[in-house]
């Protein structure tokens, strides 16, 4: 189709965006940072209430403590963008860690241990994805609930219910090592986040994920390989659970069937706190990370402040709710400021 460039003359008129920074546009720029703003607020409160909070040492701890949730949240985001859910990731961590530990006991080869854990994660993910697609299941809740249960049972059975101690040095470093106060796992999280950010914003596959989530039937009609996209997303979620298993078992220097318990709930909560929607098609990697760190920071701060163990769940609930509610207000303000800026200019 040849291209012409008729200037627009119909349709509602648009105000040109203003050039001079006016105060609404400054406020807008600030407010637009989104959930990050809420995280900064939570961090500010934590820093005020507990002086140690902002020490590099503690920040290093927060990074290390949040790495697993963050890794799972990045992958869970993609799943949720496709209208899905992956409940199996916690159990997958347990299974992959146990498989890794048993491999290490058997052969003591670092590459084999790493491969075994990644492979286990990927395998569970592939079962989820193909089960969903080929089984024509109405929703991934069921297949991932099933693999949650099966992976948990397998981990218990393989491990004989016992934790198995010992992990290769490199794995221990990945999970527990650091450069100065910056844990290696934080670099891993950053690398994975950047990779997924690139995939979701710059690569065809990322575009397809949002298309499938926004309109699955439309995606099919547009010849997007919907089944392939779904399988790949669950496979990636499983693979990331395998990576999370490496971090967990490296950090704890063991593989145990109790690892990762309820980690899926943390991951899903992180994604939802970050503003993604179960109705699909919406959500960003950055905000999922913010959600993960929101959870991590609150938990860490309460420990630092020695909040009564009975009270901790109450505080967590209230803080999460307040943070999300503030983000709702923030969103409304953003829309208001946009209009104000448009009117002023």
């Amino acid at each position: 189709m040849a291209v012409s460039t008729t200037p627009p003359d119909t349709a509602a008129k648009t105000d040109p965006p203003s050039r001079r920074p006016t105060w609404p546009s400054v406020a807008l720029a600030l407010i637009r940072t989104g959930p990050v703003l809420m995280l900064v607020a939570v961090i500010a409160v934590a820093g005020t209430l507990s002086p140690v909070f902002l020490t590099t040492r503690n920040l290093g701890n927060v990074l290390a403590q949040t790495a697993v949730i963050a890794i799972l949240a990045i992958a869970q985001l993609l799943v949720i963008v496709t209208r899905g859910i992956d409940l199996s990731v916690g159990s997958t961590i347990a299974l992959a860690a146990v498989v890794g530990a048993l491999t290490f006991e058997a052969v003591a080869s670092t590459p084999l241990v790493v491969l075994a854990m990644l492979g286990t994660g990927l395998a569970v993910g592939l079962v989820n994805g193909t089960g969903l697609v080929w089984g024509r299941l109405p929703h991934p809740f069921i297949v991932t609930l099933a693999t949650l249960s099966v992976a948990h049972g397998l981990a218990l059975w393989l491990a004989g219910g016992q934790p198995h101690r010992g992990m290769p040095d490199i794995v221990q470093q990945i999970g527990g090592g650091s450069i100065g106060w910056l844990p290696y796992s934080a670099f891993l999280v950053a690398a994975l986040a950047l990779a997924v950010l690139f995939l979701t914003t710059r690569v065809v596959w990322g575009r397809w994920i949002y298309a499938v989530g926004g309109n699955p039937e439309g995606a099919r009609r547009s010849a997007i390989p919907v089944n392939g996209v779904l399988i790949s997303v669950y496979a990636l979620s499983g693979l990331f659970a395998g990576i999370a298993a490496i971090v967990t078992s490296g950090r704890l220097n063991a593989g145990s069937p109790t690892f990762g318990e309820l980690a899926e709930l943390d991951a899903i909560a992180a994604v939802v706190i970050g503003g993604a929607s179960f109705l699909g098609g919406r959500g960003t990697v950055g905000n999922a990370l913010v959600g993960a760190f929101m959870i991590g920071v609150i938990r860490n701060a309460m420990n630092l402040m020695n909040v009564d163990a009975f009270i901790q769940p109450i505080v967590i609930g209230v803080v999460i709710l307040v943070a999300v509610e503030l983000d709702v207000v923030r969103g409304a303000l953003e829309r208001r400021f946009r209009v104000m800026r448009a009117v002023q200019s």
Binding site: V52, N58, N61, Q65, Q162, P163, G176, R251, L252, T258
Partner: protein, 292 residues
């Protein structure tokens, strides 16, 4: 015998239930001991059951009810809490003997015997040991288990009784007996209270996590007095190497074999002791070799 298809399980074979709380190594050791008993005794058939978590009252009750349906003659059970006593009453009413293992249900009349450690006493033992070891002005952090789990709570309660006023408690977060949560909590405690003198844990996994935090904080092994409960294999290794000071040992294998023996005896109408104390013992570097 270990199944109804076992030819050796004749008409005089007797069916007994053995119920544990949830899948952790502690109960695994216990169940292994009972399985061994089962294999060695052709005239006894043991049916097993296990809950989902340390507080899964409903799950344990369902198993009790199902065992009643299966006409077992006795049940040995590690009660998740006193809340299961209603179901146990039903069993007793159906003529089934009930032996409590691991934990008692204080004040419940229906039991034939209790084969258990006294968690409160175990905690007290640790408290008294720490009281002797620590100097006044010391600070202590407690890694609690799962909140609302009576036996785990008793270990903390007992510790405080035994400890008296020797040390100030600076933190007592819940860890759900999870190693990761124990590590996280210990990291945070060491950040907020770099000079903490001692750490006590109500169960094994968080103590293992705490030892990692101590190491990561560049403390000398043993600089902080770490005391655990359960003397898990990991703890024993740490005690031997001097990283961990002590742990309160229970004897799950003993609980298992004595528990099943008592249950079988009760089922056969024999007289059984009202309490069989399987004992607790302080494991330290001095005696750790006996526990390995």
């Amino acid at each position: 015998g270990c199944g109804s298809d076992d030819p050796a399980a004749g008409s005089d074979s007797i069916k007994v239930g053995f119920i544990t709380k949830f899948p952790v190594d502690f109960y695994d050791t216990m169940v292994d001991a009972v399985k061994k008993y089962d294999a060695d005794h052709k005239d006894v058939e043991v049916v097993f059951g296990q809950g989902k978590s340390g507080t899964d009252d409903e799950g344990v009750i369902a198993i009790i009810e199902n065992m009643i349906t299966q006409d077992v003659k006795a049940i040995a059970v590690t009660p998740t809490s006193p809340n299961v006593q209603g179901a146990l009453d039903k069993a007793v009413k159906a003529g089934i003997k009930v032996v409590l293992v691991d934990n008692d249900i204080p004040g419940w009349k229906g039991k034939s015997s209790v084969v258990a450690t006294d968690n409160l006493a175990g905690g007290k033992l640790a408290g008294e040991w720490l009281a002797k070891k620590l100097s006044p002005g010391a600070t202590l952090a407690i890694l609690q288990g799962r909140l609302g789990n009576p036996s785990l709570d008793d270990r903390v309660k007992g510790l405080k009784q035994g400890l008296g006023t020797v040390a100030t408690i600076v933190a007592e977060p819940a860890t759900d007996c999870d190693q990761t949560k124990g590590l996280n909590a210990a990291q945070d405690i060491l950040t907020a209270n770099p000079n903490v003198t001692a750490i006590y844990g109500a169960c094994g996994p968080p103590i293992t996590g705490a030892l990692q935090a101590v190491k990561a904080a560049n403390k000398k092994p043993g600089a902080i007095t770490v005391v655990g409960f359960d003397a898990s294999p990991d703890e024993l290794t740490a005690i031997a190497s001097g990283e961990q000071a002590a742990s309160v040992a229970q004897f799950p294998a003993k609980m298992g074999s004595l528990g099943i023996e008592t249950a079988v005896a009760a089922a056969r109408g024999e007289q059984v002791a009202a309490t069989v104390d399987t004992g607790t013992e302080m494991v330290t570097k001095d005696n750790v070799s006996q526990f390995k």
